[in-house]
């Protein structure tokens, strides 16, 4: 058994795209949903990955991930023709897609992967679509061509200015919020700290902001509660109640702490001080 890898592409430095045979999931999945991947029955870890794209006809789904932990590294080492032992899905509530008017989709880093199918669906539903795509540098950019192709307006930023604007994604987002025709909906997907600051950016403007959370998961079916987050003071399970929530209500600080519970890598912390420093600088210059 297992799911065969039909295609493997290296999208960026540490970012891999796999096209995997999974006909049932391909047929049922809708934007916003994810799968749980496990490479080994007995000792393998179960990790959630968003379905970046699917082709019901060929029965395949596309997964895009950054090789950050043991499982994603092993997954990234797989070749075409190899198999993935366990794939469960599609899980989570699909994105609520309708005609809102002007939708701004903000993607940071690997967050561009889950964002892409949502952006595409929003555009197909007749929304005017602005995409803001950000990365630390040009080598880490993914899906920029694809995003450019679906967006009415496309804004690219990198932290170091090696491609597009030298800015954090929150900068163009704030400009859009300040414009005469403010967005009707913002969808922000990326590192937790980025989503937190996107939500903070839109909050004063009262613009609905949807975020998609990628917490630690085990079963993905609501059985363990390991994925729980606090939303508006209530405990919710990301795998069954989410992954999308109202960004203005999510307790990001708690979520970030919980995400770090088992993390050997300090990249969250790294990302965090980086963004907070810049945010502080900006706040300082605002006042």
């Amino acid at each position: 058994m297992g799911h065969k890898i039909m295609q493997r592409r290296q999208l960026a430095d540490e970012v891999v795209q796999l096209t995997v045979e999974a006909p049932l999931i391909a047929a049922e999945r809708r934007p916003g949903q994810f799968v749980i991947v496990q490479l080994n029955d007995d000792f393998g870890e179960r990790i959630p990955l968003t379905i970046a794209d699917a082709d019901a006809k060929s029965g395949t789904i596309t997964l895009i991930f950054q090789t950050v932990g043991k499982t994603t590294h092993l997954l990234g080492d797989l070749r075409e023709g190899d198999t993935i032992a366990n794939l469960l899905g599609p899980l989570g509530q699909p994105t609520h897609v309708e005609k809102y008017g002007h939708v701004v989709a903000v993607g940071g880093g690997i967050g561009g992967a889950p964002l892409y199918p949502i952006a595409k669906a929003m555009r197909e539903a007749g929304n005017r679509l602005t995409v803001i795509l950000g990365a630390r540098n040009r080598d880490l950019l993914i899906l920029d061509q694809e995003m450019r192709a679906v967006a009415d307006e496309f804004i690219l930023c990198t932290d170091d200015g090696s491609a597009g604007r030298k800015a954090l994604v929150t900068e163009p987002l704030r400009e859009l919020c300040e414009a005469t025709h403010a967005p009707d909906l913002v969808v922000a997907i990326g590192p937790p700290i980025m989503m937190k600051f996107c939500a903070e950016t839109t909050r004063p403007f009262n613009i609905r902001t949807v975020v998609s959370l990628n917490t630690i998961m085990i079963d993905g079916t609501g059985m363990c509660g390991g994925c729980r987050v606090s939303v508006g003071g209530e405990t919710r399970f990301v795998c069954v109640d989410g992954p999308e929530f109202d960004g203005h209500k999510v307790d990001f600080d708690n979520m970030i702490q919980r995400l770090g519970a088992y993390r050997e890598h300090e990249d969250v912390a790294h990302e965090k001080c980086h963004l907070e420093l810049q945010a502080n600088e900006r706040n300082a210059s605002d006042t």
């Binding site: 049932l24 999931i25 049922e28 496990q38 080994n40 029955d41 007995d42 000792f43 393998g44 870890e45 179960r46 043991k70 499982t71 032992a85 366990n86 794939l87 469960l88 899905g89 599609p90 899980l91 085990i218 079963d219 079916t221 609501g222 059985m223 363990c224 509660g225 390991g226 729980r228 987050v229 606090s230 405990t235 069954v240 307790d251 600080d253 708690n254 702490q257 919980r258 770090g260 519970a261 088992y262």
Partner: protein
Amino acid sequence: MRNAIWNYKLMNETHPTPETLDREARAQLEALETIGLDNLKNRDRLKIPPQNMPAQEPGVRRLNTREVTLGYSDAQARVEALRCLQCRNAPCVAGCPVRIDIPRFIKACAAGDHDAAIAVIKENSLLPSVCGRVCPQEVQCQEHCTVGKSLKDIGLAVSIGRIERYVADHERETGKAQPPPVKPDTGKRVAVIGSGPAGITVAADVRREGHAVTMFEALHKPGGVMMYGIPEFRLPKDIVRFEIDNLRRMGVEVRPNFVVGRTRALHKLLEEDGYDAVFIGSGAGLPKFMNIPGENLVGVFSANEYLTRCNLMRAYDADRADTPVARGRHVAVLGGGNVAMDAARTAVRLGAESVALVYRRTRTEMPARVEEVEHAEEEGVEFHLLVNAQKIIGDEHGQVRAMECLKYELGEPDDSGRRRPVAIPGSEFTMAVDTVIVAIGNDSNPLLRQTTDGLDSNRWGNIVTDENGKTSLDRVFAGGDIVLGAATVILAMGEGRRAAQSINNMLKPI
């Protein structure tokens, strides 16, 4: 932080070895044989010493994950069986949720005919190796046993469960446990959702009649709570695997990694995929939390998460497993049921320095099996009774540091007849802990309810069925924890039996 406060006295108390117990039992059997087993009067039988269950020594087993109890020897099983008075009214049978003919199987065991004994059990139960280990016998069959009544101690009742376990293990270990015969194919197909005891029972009973069966399981390993929840030291996973393999040998197709309602909608199974009936045995897997401040801090787990990490993901095997588990130094477990005991004893095995079990009522009200409570205590779990957690306190990193508790006393009995715990004002105190495991039970998994139109459920989220196990939807049946709320293996099995009967009746050619 507190010091390690293990109760070394209990832990170092030595128990008779399996060899000693067996030697004694052989001698007892020989003595009884000289009287003549058929000549034994009730008076004689009441004098036969109750057989102790051999177990790993507490100080040893707390360092390993192997099964704690080692099982009776042949002689022990027979001597214990000879204690049965063969009551004509068989009060024990009324206490067994699936009405096993207990006196008949015990009689066969006493005579040394273990094949006949297991055959009697299997008329009513499909999972005797499991039930013999995990049934709460002291509130089922053994509660009503005349021997216990005569000796004025339920603890001295005939150990029905241990005899059941012995004959079931004997059958399996001697390679005699064959899957039941399957009738010729009927061309009908049945989908079973969930692979816990309810699902396993339906799969076997329906397949026996010659219907094709597919069993869908969301997780990567079938077995339900028996696999992911109940730890190896209480229910070896080889036994669960054996039961699943038996289903496969009967021709049941097992499909792991398939969550009905997401991978495929339930109604599509009936309308598009050609299934003639569906059984829902999706269990109660939705962990309850206390709704107290601090419950989302780092270091707070549901028992389901803690146990799943250890059992299903093998986190205790840190060298090989990719899934980590918090190796708490000072662990508090909230609750008093089997789930709480399992979590506490797992924490012991993961090397905690102290494990505190915090329960709102007293030991008598604990819903856990008596044996598990005793074993937990022997392994050094400290019981904090009439205490409840109020608040979990974290440090600046969001990591648990302490728990604020309140003391309770027992007041008037509530609806369930148990005396209601009442908080004592001003009795707050804090306990220094770094890990808190919430083990206060499970609600029904809402996934199928949410994704299936027209499936009626009650206000607790349990699926509503009629007396035949049928739901509000045509051709859809349900049973086990998803109907009963978190209950027991044997009840789930009994419900499965009943639903399978209804499905078989419905599919019978007219």
